[in-house]
Subunit: 192 residues, 4 copies
């Protein structure tokens, strides 16, 4: 999870992301202990690649000097070069772990993610992060398009509205992936 | 929309799809009258390409001779070579219109759709069909990944549950595309 | 290999393709005997998807009734629905073997090929066919982009000019894949 | 063109690349004067994404401290974070110009390149760089897969062997793109 979505006062703040961060931290510790590969994604917008997303979501465009920022306004959110694009310190990537700079919500589209996973022989993924209905859902669909077996951690993903969280997990469960709790996943991993 | 999702008694029947078919028919007539390109997609499963979707959704696998079929059972739904893979007669493609055989929910993934649209210089899409939360949503994300400007017709898409219909259109509206009624779209097209 | 490239008198005939067909037949027999998956590709052009390739290579466009056909002229070569799009009878696919309809030279682009291989856990490919410098080379690059380990059979691929055959195999050997003879490959497979 | 391929003494040095750099510089000046978009690609290898290319080309892997480097040996060539990954100073990108970090020879695969071009409405490309038979050829095929009209500058691309240069341009001319000289292209651009 990136600072732009987790920290208080950010234009695209998702308060519930702070609640799920400890669950992700626990799973991260298990993965590292078991030497399972961990990958981070950072959504990044750059004016040198003026994608549609910058029209639909002005928050990603550079904040004008002195102008008010916030939801619906140019706020340099996830802007290339800004500190807010980084993964939050509690989940900080290690030097040997892959950080994928992505330009779309789908972490597979236009990135090295699929190649890097294949190169390691990975065919099963555990997915956490924010927002459930945007980046998580799009990445799950991207993974399904590439034949990955996936599990989404229901208390390791967050969005702004409870009914959208429920509906998105329902869609994922019916069509794309397993949905289970961090505890259930930890128990499964303990039996490996 | 394919017969496998629209016709009564099909294993994957979506009753509401029959309600939206007239709206799609009206838009189809407008597009044809204005010589705007029309594309159809047919989701197709084949045992020669044993994709994950056949594990997650057994309905697509070949029905066993004599065995009961229906939701949750092998039912030859959207199976290559079956009549139920075809577009419903009310919306029948013309010989000059592209029919895309797709293997994933996302009509862009692993198909000629994007190339065919580019070859015609198309950059804006109107999307209708079923199911809203599966094939429509995945295709909208696929189109967003390829920089298409899109409009989804809210009374031209259907799924099984009203709350999932609402949530999906909400996700699409916030992140990916315009959402408007067939009437609103027809009015816009009349002004072209 | 498709009839459009192998048979005498076809607009896009590659005479050397007839010489390599027996090598491909031998390897096909070995693969089938060992129950290794076999995939065929059929390059197909359709006026409903008016891709750039139809501008660059008019042979693929529909022959006009009564008009002369041949290299440089609309000749219905690899045209959707024509018999010449089919694999030559000596290499005829079995009903359980995947036949990929492709729209680009690269057999991976816009097709289900990658998904079908992943679904079977395939990570190593043996590649044969024609033309060496067009469809074979583009497909090798497509496979490299998807992390496949590949071997190209030097006497199982054909093109029109010996110096282009040599140069293409040199490029492949340096950058993408192993290049070996059908005999060398058969010997390796015998030791599996 | 990146320093890893152009500078004397680099493990993957292509001496002819220094000869074509002035032609690229001239075209770059014309593009900038006419406010046509310019995009640079930087092939980058990272041990956090241990792709097949690192097995096939050990030069990209990190040089061991104190060990000899050079062709066929781990040499930190195009290694993430190294200065040699950068575009040569004569062609230095401006802050507003897109620099695409690519992980495959094909500049379109796993990058934002296609999206960035679409977002600007670009459908025609001029291609220069090195090596003609590897990154240039793979990128031309990637562009063809995405329906771009392309021109390759014959005295703006370089490789190690004259016969491979000739064969590659012959393949490109027959199947994918126009091939013309920097002078011919400059004359065409002057008439725009």
């Amino acid at each position: 999870m990136q600072r732009a979505f987790v920290e208080e006062g950010q234009a695209m703040e998702v308060p519930a992301a702070r609640d799920v961060a400890p669950r992700i931290q626990e799973l991260l510790a298990i993965f590292r202990e078991k030497h399972l590969p961990v990958v981070f994604t950072e959504f990044t917008y750059s004016p040198t690649a003026p994608l549609l997303v910058g029209d639909l979501h002005p928050e990603h465009r550079p904040a004008a000097p002195g102008a008010a920022t916030g939801f619906g306004r140019p706020s340099s959110s996830c802007l290339e070069g800004e500190e807010n694009t980084r993964v939050i310190p509690e989940l900080a990537p290690r030097a040997t772990e892959l950080v994928v700079r992505k330009h779309y919500y789908d972490g597979f589209h236009g990135t090295v993610l699929d190649g890097a996973l294949r190169a390691r022989g990975v065919s099963t993924l555990v997915i956490t992060g924010t927002m459930t209905d945007i980046c998580v859902l799009a990445t799950v669909i991207g993974g399904f398009n590439r034949e990955y077996r996936m599990a989404v951690v229901e208390d390791g993903v967050a969005t702004l509205w409870p009914e959208i969280q429920r509906a998105t997990l329902d869609i994922i469960r019916r069509a794309y992936a397993r949905v289970l709790s961090a505890k259930e996943l930890a128990d499964e991993l303990a039996r490996w």
